[in-house]
Symmetry: C2
Subunit: 271 residues, 2 copies
């Protein structure tokens, strides 16, 4: 790692989120820091990128004195703007967050913009760490005691990675903080499901039904990120690999049977 590593900070709550400020304050002297983030909240956009309209990049002053680049795009767009417009040089690390709301479970990871930006960075060859906290609003980050623990944790993790290198075989580290830290730090895989989605039917004034979608939390499985953050109230460190292809031989042998039948059907057709 270079003596002055180039580090991108981004998020999905928008460049003015207090969560981004916590992240900045935690790492500001650990390298050359560039802040590139959506100008407005862009939650739950996953890895979405902006293809059908032009992207604008506006320099803004954050917290009275820090330079940032606000874009009218998604968290993943921020990574590309950082690479091609702002830094124009190789980037050593991307840090995303601190998200308002935890991003525990595969269900949440797959739809999160915080993880989306981190994943897009990793796919483009830049290792990344996503930070999320189980808070209801950004106000929580103004509580000095809470944010100082978060900052200290972020600083320790980022310093380690810059000095010792990113863990081998890992694409993204996802770090989730509980609403109140009552326990230690645990390395755990992501749970599968966090929310059991339901629909509530209502009637509009004309008597026509409409529906509200809402999620009921599922029972946390032990030894998962959901369990650590919501039951143990500890800090969950989850190493992610951007690969969902099945690896079991059994899956492949069953699929191969299907492929053979498809093959035979194609050969039997006149085409």
């Amino acid at each position: 790692m270079r003596s002055k590593p180039k580090i991108i900070l981004t998020n999905d709550d928008g460049i003015f989120s207090p969560g981004l400020r916590v992240l900045y304050e935690a790492v500001k002297d650990l390298g050359e820091i560039y802040i590139v983030a959506p100008s407005e909240p862009k939650s739950a956009v996953g890895l979405g990128i902006t293809l059908h309209k032009p992207i604008r990049v506006n320099e803004v002053t954050l917290w009275g004195k820090t330079r940032g680049f606000a874009i009218n795009g998604t968290p993943s767009d921020s990574i590309h703007v950082a690479r091609e417009v702002v830094v124009k040089d190789s980037i050593d690390l991307v840090l995303s967050g601190v998200n308002i709301g935890d991003n525990t479970s595969m269900q949440t990871i797959l739809s999160s913009g915080t993880l989306g930006a981190a994943s897009e960075a990793s796919l483009m060859g830049i290792k990344s760490i996503a930070f999320s906290a189980n808070v209801q609003s950004g106000e929580e980050f103004y509580k000095e005691e809470y944010s100082s623990i978060i900052k200290k944790t972020i600083r320790v993790i980022v310093s380690y990675v810059l000095e010792q290198g990113f863990p081998k075989g890992v694409d993204v580290i996802s770090v989730n903080f509980p609403d109140e830290i009552k326990s230690g730090a645990y390395v755990v895989p992501a749970a599968r499901l966090r929310w059991w989605e339901k629909l509530e039917e209502r009637k509009d004034p004309r008597g026509v039904p409409y529906y509200w979608l809402y999620g009921e939390p599922t029972e946390p499985e032990p030894d998962t990120d959901v369990y650590v953050v919501h039951v143990l109230k500890g800090i969950a460190l989850t190493p992610l690999v951007l690969d969902m292809s099945a690896s079991s031989g059994k899956a492949y042998s069953q699929l191969n049977t299907i492929a053979k039948i498809v093959q035979k059907a194609l050969e039997e057709s006149t085409i």
Copy 2:
């Protein structure tokens, strides 16, 4: 499997997409078919769901005679509307597509609405298959020769799964068709990256820069979905597991070292 399995069809190009019609025609007599899909195209939304506005469900007549349910939401919303409003009973299988455009590579899978709906279904306990085709527009599905191969392939795969059961340990099967079928069917993992994203700078009439994001295709890696669809022009069958947690012991041991340092830092703080 029940004699009349309940099957949901959905997509991300909108309920009036000819790709959905191809899917319907391929499987219409294989079970009790329910069509629930966004009323408008919702590409690249991943697993996004609609939380901040109510969802409307409108019954529509498709292709002159088939009942469908159009919703003002995302592909993932369709799964929940199907479960809770339309079917109100257990669902045996979700089929998503046929998408206009292939969904090869993890980069594309992670942002695709077609795969998003399939993944959300699987997370809610309903196995699913996503179908996508490397076509530029829905017009291609009107070419009889092309769509008959796609329909035959879909029918063979869905029939197999209904009769023999879903492949063990697999959450979602992703099937990608080439633009022209010149080769057979292959079982392959997803490539990692499909598009190297770039930004093109332009100046508006006032001389202020703006940027267009565009992707340049990366070199296809052999033995991946991208290679099969774009180089061999074959049909790619990719078994997916909704799990991105690292499984290597090395990843965990390095993360455990970080967790210990975090732990120590927390204990040393006055809190």
